[in-house]
């Protein structure tokens, strides 16, 4: 357990930089000289659009290269450091990457379900196809507009004939949850379109191995042939809007975009990208890779900046049933490969036999709760940000997941309009159980003190997120260490006072509070079942005219915190 003070860490960073190491080149602005806490801390918003990004150029991403690069090379900085884009109270400020929603304020079930939708229903008497879908993704589709609103372009994707509702349901569920969590997503709708409502535009084109050519009736016939049909001959599709702006490629889960002046935080150290591992585990979004992200150059207030989207959820919830490794193994893992060969197939991973898609509705993919082990969950290939996820990142994300009530989960699943009630029930039940398992795993993986407050009359209080979630019994004792804090130097000053409490509130020592502008509080929680709770949470209060504001919160994490099981490829 590290007892190193933040100021000392800062000095070490400076030395590392001076030596040209660059391995811990993070949190540039956070580590600038100056006070530990600025007057505007904690910032709720990172205005990461201050620099004009009009010089950004589209980037191409090779799917094969991305797989090879991340499977055989540990890309990105792997320093076990705190996420660099959190504010001083350990939260993710709103930015071009993330907008706090359910994690910051209550959301009604109706608001969650509505998600990013701009209209109640997407309907048109006729859809004009303007282009083929392109090669990416499993689902056949095309791009079309409602001729009454030709500026609004949508990408339509169908479910495959043997798996009606499977991918479109996943798309709707993923989009809705990811929006409520806080990511930028495109508004996506379920539509039922009869082939007679489809018309091929005169200038429609498609690009394939023949090159770019005219979109032909045969191309449309092929999509229709592969699609699951409704009894009336119509076809259920997901329709995702092309959002405003100019597409400039995908964002990587490591490094920064070298031509974007606002992109100062290495992606592998961004909390919302590290913590995305938890959300992906919950939804079995194993296709969570750079290719399924989107960057758009948008204009606001006369300035251009890059907005970052999560994109394409059609393969979450195990929606590619033939991918038996989904969520449980990388496409390639040297250890399990050697073991499989060495044992001549006798060894079978336990999860391998726990789910059989053939025995359930075709609308349900490889998605269950029984085989779900949160720390062991894996995407299809290593993701640097996921590999860097620490227990405090996972805790942040798990709190968000835990805010989705049973009713909210069932309502989101209902939005996907599965025609088989049993499919909806199975998926919702699995989501609920997986949510609970995430809470048990990651809400207890750090000292779960949250919402610390210090009142004007010197009474302190905080909450225990794990206890509140019902996944842990109350701690036997909380050990609090109080001291004054010098904001200019960033270190505690003067004598310390230690108090102990069996409850979540009490009175702070007046000897510390009186005459102090800043107060530092370290909390250790004593629980026989959770020894990691003894890792301190460092809290800082600042005196205001009306009392005390919480300006700092940092959790120390235990090395080898078990937030995730080892990536066999990571160093």
């Amino acid at each position: 357990m590290s007892s190193e003070r933040p100021r000392a860490k800062r000095r070490r960073l400076a030395l590392a930089l001076a030596a040209g190491l660059g391995a811990t080149v993070v949190a540039a602005a956070d580590q600038a000289p100056g006070p530990r806490f600025y007057p505007d801390d904690p910032i709720p918003v990172d205005h990461d659009r201050t620099q004009d990004a009009s010089g950004v150029r589209p980037q191409d991403l090779s799917e094969t290269y991305d797989f090879l690069e991340h499977t055989f090379v540990a890309r990105g900085d792997r320093a076990r450091i705190r996420a660099v884009n959190v504010n001083t109270v350990d939260e993710v400020p709103d930015s071009s990457w993330f907008t706090n929603r359910i994690g910051r304020r209550p959301m009604s079930v109706a608001e969650i379900v509505r998600g990013p939708d701009r209209v109640d229903r997407l309907e048109a008497p006729e859809w004009v196809i303007v282009a083929g879908k392109g090669p990416a993704g499993f689902q056949p589709g095309f791009r079309a507009v409602d001729p009454r609103r030709p500026d609004e372009l949508f990408q339509f994707e169908v479910d495959l004939e043997d798996h009606a509702d499977l991918a479109s349901g996943a798309e709707l569920i993923g989009t809705t949850f990811y929006h409520a969590i806080g990511y930028h997503v495109v508004d996506t709708y379920l539509v039922n379109v009869h082939p007679s409502q489809l018309r091929i535009g005169e200038t429609a084109t498609i690009r394939d191995a023949s090159g770019r050519r005219r979109f032909a009736q045969g191309d449309l016939d092929e999509v229709i042939r592969l699609a699951a049909k409704n009894p009336d001959g119509s076809i259920r599709m997901s329709a995702g809007r092309f959002v405003e702006g100019r597409p400039i490629g995908n964002f990587r889960y490591h490094g920064t975009r070298p031509d974007d002046p606002n992109d100062i935080h290495p992606h592998e150290h961004r909390r919302e990208l590290r913590g995305n591992r938890v959300f992906c585990a919950w939804l079995n979004h194993d296709d969570s890779r750079a290719l399924n992200t989107l960057e758009m150059l948008v204009t606001a207030d006369g300035r251009q900046f890059v907005r970052h989207y999560m994109f394409d959820f059609g393969s979450i919830l195990g929606s590619s049933p033939e991918r038996w490794w989904s969520g449980h193994a990388y496409l390639y893992e040297p250890d399990s490969t050697l073991r499989g060969l060495r044992t001549l197939g006798i060894w079978i991973p336990p999860w391998r036999t726990m789910i059989d898609p053939r025995r359930q509705s075709p609308a349900v993919g490889r998605f269950d709760a029984a085989s779900f082990d949160p720390p062991a969950w894996r995407p299809e290939y290593p993701n640097p940000a996921f590999d860097n996820m620490r227990a405090d990142d996972a805790f942040w994300a798990a709190r968000i997941v835990n805010r989705f009530t049973d009713d909210a989960i069932r309502a989101v699943v209902a939005k996907a309009a599965y025609r088989e009630a049993e499919a909806a029930r199975v998926i919702a039940d699995a989501l609920i159980t997986r949510r609970d398992r995430i809470a048990r795993t990651w809400l207890t993986g750090v000292n779960p003190i949250v919402d610390p407050q210090l009142s004007a009359d010197g009474r302190w209080s905080f909450a225990n997120a794990a206890v509140d979630a019902g996944v842990a019994t109350p701690a036997a004792e909380y050990r609090l260490t109080w001291s004054r804090f010098d904001n200019a130097t960033g270190v505690p000053v003067g004598p310390t006072e230690e108090t102990r409490a069996a409850t979540l509130d009490g009175r702070a020592p007046t000897s510390i509070l009186n005459g102090s502008e800043f107060v530092a509080l370290t909390v250790r929680s004593i629980h026989p079942d959770h020894p990691v709770w003894q890792a301190p949470v460092h809290i800082h209060f600042r005196r205001t005219a009306s009392g005390w504001d919480t300006v700092g919160l940092e959790r120390e994490v235990v090395e080898g915190d078990g937030a995730q099981k080892r990536n066999p490829i990571a160093p």
Partner: protein, 410 residues
């Protein structure tokens, strides 16, 4: 992203050591903005590495498809000649739309086997339920193996012969439901057999066919007529390959009549019965695959079946422990079983067992004459589809055999 790291270093150094823009921000927002301003002065365009650029070009321009199986234009044909012909390739061209496809391909091997083939196909007629295809080919295989007829053919009698043919077939089929296809065909086959060809000397130690066999022991060796041929085939396919483990069954029944146009000596009926069953076990973690194939060539009254059209046993797709074309005769029985287990997404393992025999008629098939082998191997591909397989077979009469082959067995 190396360049981005470099620029970030500059920003961070400036921040930590107090370059002018970051010297004394008065707020967190100012500090962040100053860091971004510093970065703005050091932007560089994204520069993909050479491998990344190459791989992107391959994907973006569909280069593999264009090179090996282009829907329109020229491409390269790789392989496609019968086993034993050696590595083959050649130029090809195609023009296709959703309703029609016209293809011409060619291939030649170092063993001087070659083929030119053309196809005109209408694969999606009647809303995808009907297809019509016209196929033609001319080819020469200069080093075909023949060791004699029957299950007792001695390997020491191994010889080579040259086989040429000109074939034109028209096939039409209907698929009323996904799992059922019925097809009929008619066409003409013009074969020619002669002494071995190929590189000087042929295969070392393998003489030409006429040195050991004559028209009695190798019917059809002296004269080869043209054949009219027509037939029917039915396939019932209830396999499900969309799941990780293959499951279901497939049955093929085919009949084709060969009518000797010139000599009235070699007319016969060719029957094929081929059944496959895929059994997922341990909730699909493993697959047991079984195949049974039976072929019989029934000569017309007073006729005989030419040796070069009789089914053969041995090789990577039948008895893997036997050399290709090791046995041949009018009747063939083949049983194959495989236990398959996936190791990862790209690699799978397999244990296999093969048994088979040939005979001069169904009544002469005996269990005693069956040849067996067993072995293990690796399959490389993705999901349940194998791209390449490497196997080692034991127990065949030819000793331990190594197989390296594109594609699956069954």
């Amino acid at each position: 992203m190396g360049s981005s790291l470099g620029s970030l270093v500059c920003v961070a150094v400036a921040a930590v050591f107090g370059d002018a823009p970051l010297q004394s921000p008065q707020s967190r927002a100012e500090a962040l903005e100053a860091a971004r301003a510093a970065r703005a002065a050091a932007l560089v365009p994204y520069a993909p590495t050479t491998p990344e650029a190459i791989l992107f070009a391959i994907e973006d321009r569909y280069l593999f498809e264009r090179m090996l199986n282009a829907p329109r234009g020229l491409f390269a044909r790789l392989g496609g000649l019968p086993t034993g012909s050696g590595l083959a390739g050649g130029p090809a061209g195609r023009y296709s739309t959703h309703t029609v496809s016209a293809t011409i391909t060619s291939a030649a091997s170092l063993q001087r086997a070659w083929e030119i083939a053309a196809a005109l196909e209408f694969p999606t007629l009647a809303d995808d339920h009907v297809f019509i295809a016209l196929h033609g080919r001319k080819r020469e295989l200069p080093l075909e193996d023949f060791s004699g007829l029957g299950p007792d053919a001695e390997d020491s009698d191994r010889t080579s012969y040259r086989y040429r043919d000109l074939l034109v077939d028209v096939t039409a089929g209907v698929s009323p439901i996904d799992s059922l296809t019925v097809a009929g065909s008619f066409g003409r086959l013009q074969p020619a057999v002669g002494p071995r060809g190929g590189p000087a000397g042929g295969r070392a130690g393998v003489p030409s066919i006429e040195t050991r066999f004559d028209d009695d022991s190798a019917p059809g060796l002296d004269q080869q007529p043209a054949f009219d041929r027509f037939g029917l085939a039915v396939r019932v396919d209830a396999t499900d390959e969309s799941l990780g483990s293959r499951t279901g069954s497939r049955l093929d029944v085919a009949w084709r009549r060969y009518v000797d146009r010139d000599l009235d000596t070699y007319s016969f009926d060719h029957w094929i019965l081929d059944g496959r069953q895929y059994v997922p076990i341990l909730t699909g973690a493993r697959t047991l695959a079984v195949r049974a194939r039976f072929e019989h060539l029934a000569p017309a009254a007073g006729a005989t079946v030419p040796f070069y059209l009789r089914p053969t046993l041995g090789g990577p797709d039948s008895i893997r422990g036997l050399r290709s074309y090791r046995f041949r005769d009018r009747t063939l029985a083949l049983l194959q079983a495989e236990y398959r287990w996936p190791v990862n997404a790209f690699l799978g393992g397999v244990f296999f067992y093969d048994a088979g025999t040939v005979a001069d008629g169904p009544s002469r098939l005996t269990l005693r004459s069956f040849t067996h082998d067993f072995g293990l191997g690796l399959r490389m591909g993705f999901l349940s589809q194998s791209f390449l397989r490497a196997e080692v077979a034991f127990g065949g009469t030819d000793g331990t055999a190594l197989v390296l082959r594109f594609g699956d067995v069954f």
